[in-house]
C-alpha cells in the first residue's frame, strides 16, 4: 500500500497528480490520512493516529479508513505494490 510518488499536496487540501493531470480536493481528515500514507504508515498505525487525535472509536476509524483507501485506489492515487 503506497501513495503514488510525485503527488503534490497543499495545506488547504488540494491534491494534484502530475502523472495523470487530475486534481482533487479533500477534507482535513482526508488530508491527514494522505500525509500519514506519505510517511509510509500502515493501516493500524493510521487508525491509532486517528483515534488519538479525534474523539472516535476504533471501529469508526477502521470503517472510514477502509472506505477512504478504496476511493484512493479508484482514483489511482494509491497502489498496492510495496
Amino acid at each position: 500500500m503506497q501513495l503514488n510518488k510525485n503527488i503534490a499536496i497543499s495545506d488547504s487540501g488540494f491534491i494534484f497528480n502530475p502523472s495523470t493531470g487530475d486534481s482533487f480536493s479533500t477534507n482535513p481528515v482526508g488530508l491527514e490520512i494522505i500525509r500519514l500514507l506519505r510517511e509510509n504508515k500502515k493501516k493500524d498505525a493510521i487508525i491509532k493516529e486517528l483515534t488519538g487525535r479525534f474523539s472516535i472509536d476504533d471501529s469508526t476509524a477502521e470503517k472510514d479508513l477502509s472506505d477512504f483507501l478504496l476511493v484512493l485506489r479508484n482514483y489511482q492515487l494509491l497502489n498496492d505494490h510495496e
Binding site: F24, S25, T26, G30, E32, D67, L70, Y75, L77
Partner: protein, 452 residues
C-alpha cells in the same frame, strides 16, 4: 490536538470540464426546523420516518388559488380531490376553507360524508360506481359525473325504477395538444361521443344535466391546454343552450396543475418550469369569459386541484440507516424510508436536505430505501454532505399522493403529524403495528400453527 471535530475522510476529483449530471447544488443547505419545530424533536417524539404536514401551508395554498380565480371570474368553487390526500385532518382543512369534496370511489364518498360534507357538495367521479353507489349518491343529491355509457344506462334504469331524480354531468375527454391524450375516462369530444351522451341525458326526464367535467391530465406543464379544454366545454355548453335552451350550472375543469416538484429526466428545477396558478387561472377564465356564453348565464367554475394545493405542504423526515460503497466506487446511502412511503419517487427527483449542519464537503450518492428490493431507489444521483448512520434528512414536497398511495410492504407505515397554525404538533395518523396487520388475517384451524 484532541477534541478536533471529526468528519469522515473525503476526497473528490475536481471537475474536469464535463457537465455535472448531478445538477444544482442547492440541496445541502441544512433544514433543521420544519416551520418552528426542530426536526430532532420530531424524531424524538414521533420516531423516524415520519410525515409532517403544515396546516399553515395548506391554507395559504388554498387561499392563493382561490384568489387567483376569484379575481378573474365571478363564480368559483374548489372541490378537494380526496385521492390526492384523504387524511380526514387534511380534508377538513380544505372543507373549513370552503372546498367541496371530489371523490372517485364509494370509499372516498363515505369518507367525505363522514367528514360532514353535505351530499349535494360531493362530486362523484370515477369509472367504478356500482348500482348501490349510484343509489346512495342519488339519495344524497350528489353531483354524479358519468364516465361511460354503461354507467349512463344503468343510472337511467335505476332512476326509472325508483322514480327519483339525479343531478348529473359527463366527463369529457379531448385533444388539448398535450400527449399522450387521456381518453380512457369519459366521453370523447372530437368524435361526437360526448354529444351523444348529452343527447341521451337530455332525453331522460329523471336526469338533470347540471354541468360538464373534464380532467385533462396531471402535472400539466401547459396552461394553454386548459384554455383549449375550457373552450371545448364552452362549445358544448353553447350547443346545449342552442338546442335545448338549457343553461348549465357549472363547468368543472378538473385538476392537474403542476406542483413545484422536479420531474425525473428534467434538468430544470420544477419551480422554474411550471406555470403559476395565475397562468392556469388566466387561461381558463379568459376563455370562458370570451366564449359565446352570455354574461348573465356564466356557469360556476369548479376546480378539483389536488397536488398543486398540498404537495409543498408536507415533508418526510427520515434517517440514515447505513452508508456503503458500490462496486463502481459510487457512494450509496440507505435511508429508513423508501418507495413504500415515497411512491412519488418513481416520477419525481424529490429534493432531500440534511437536517443538521455539515462542512462544505459534499459527495454524489445514490439514495436507497430500506426495502430488500432492487426497485427501492429514492434518488439515482444526488449531491449531499457526508451523511453518517443516524443523521436525519428532510424530503420536501411530499403532500400529494404519498399518504394515499403508500404501501404496507416489508415495513409498516409510520406516523403522520400536522403542525397547526400555532406551531403545535398533533398526530393525525398512528403508526401501524404488527397488531394492525394481524387484525385482518384469519388462520384456518389446520394452518394455525407449526412445530419446527
Amino acid at each position: 490536538m484532541s477534541n478536533l471535530t471529526y468528519e469522515r475522510p473525503f476526497i473528490q476529483k475536481l471537475n474536469t470540464g464535463t457537465m455535472n449530471k448531478f445538477g444544482t447544488r442547492t440541496e445541502y443547505a441544512p433544514v433543521t426546523h420544519l416551520e418552528s419545530v426542530p426536526v430532532k424533536r420530531i424524531v424524538a417524539d414521533y420516531g423516524s420516518p415520519c410525515f409532517v404536514i403544515s396546516e399553515r401551508q395548506i391554507r395559504k395554498n388554498y387561499q392563493d388559488a382561490v384568489r387567483a380565480f376569484k379575481t378573474r371570474y365571478p363564480k368559483v368553487q374548489f372541490a378537494w380531490s380526496y385521492k390526492t390526500n384523504y387524511l380526514d385532518a387534511v380534508c377538513n382543512i380544505f372543507h373549513q376553507e370552503g372546498s367541496w369534496a371530489e371523490v372517485v370511489s364509494i370509499f372516498e364518498y363515505r369518507k367525505a360524508l363522514n367528514n360532514g360534507v353535505p351530499g349535494n357538495k360531493i362530486i362523484f367521479n370515477g369509472p367504478d360506481k356500482s348500482a348501490a353507489d349510484l343509489e346512495l349518491a342519488v339519495d344524497n343529491n350528489s353531483l354524479i359525473h358519468i364516465d361511460h355509457f354503461d354507467e349512463l344506462y344503468e343510472l337511467a334504469a335505476l332512476l326509472q325504477a325508483s322514480k327519483k331524480k339525479a343531478r348529473v354531468a359527463i366527463r369529457v375527454n379531448m385533444d388539448t395538444g398535450v400527449y399522450p391524450m387521456w381518453d380512457r375516462f369519459g366521453f370523447n369530444y372530437e368524435n361526437g361521443q360526448a354529444w351523444n351522451a348529452i343527447t341521451k341525458i337530455m332525453s331522460q326526464q329523471e336526469m338533470e344535466l347540471v354541468g360538464l367535467h373534464c380532467h385533462i391530465g396531471t402535472y400539466m406543464l401547459s396552461a394553454a391546454a386548459y384554455g383549449t379544454a375550457a373552450w371545448k366545454l364552452c362549445d358544448l355548453a353553447v350547443n346545449i343552450k342552442t338546442k335545448w335552451n338549457k343553461s348549465l350550472q357549472y363547468l368543472d375543469l378538473g385538476g392537474g396543475f403542476a406542483s413545484a416538484n422536479t420531474l425525473k429526466g428534467s434538468y430544470l428545477q420544477g419551480a422554474d418550469v411550471i406555470p403559476s396558478i395565475d397562468d392556469y387561472a388566466e387561461a381558463i377564465t379568459s376563455t370562458i369569459l370570451n366564449s359565446a356564453i352570455r354574461q348573465n348565464e356564466l356557469p360556476m367554475l369548479i376546480l378539483e386541484t389536488g397536488r398543486a394545493l398540498v404537495d409543498d405542504a408536507a415533508w418526510l423526515v427520515g434517517s440514515v440507516v447505513a452508508t456503503k460503497r458500490l462496486s463502481d466506487g459510487r457512494r450509496a446511502t440507505i435511508m429508513d424510508f423508501g418507495v413504500n412511503l415515497l411512491f412519488t419517487a418513481f416520477w419525481y427527483n424529490h429534493k432531500v436536505s440534511p437536517a443538521q449542519e455539515f462542512s462544505h464537503h459534499t459527495e454524489d450518492m445514490v439514495l436507497y430505501g430500506p426495502l430488500c428490493m432492487n426497485i427501492d431507489v429514492i434518488r439515482d444521483s444526488v449531491n449531499l454532505p457526508l451523511l453518517n448512520k443516524g443523521d436525519h434528512v428532510v424530503v420536501h414536497k411530499v403532500g400529494a399522493y404519498n399518504m394515499t398511495q403508500w404501501m404496507q410492504f416489508i415495513q409498516m407505515r409510520p406516523k403522520i403529524i400536522i403542525i397547526d397554525m400555532e406551531g403545535k404538533t398533533h398526530i393525525v395518523r398512528e403508526s401501524e403495528s404488527l397488531e394492525t396487520m394481524l387484525r385482518y388475517e384469519k388462520r384456518p384451524d389446520h394452518l394455525s400453527q407449526s412445530s419446527l
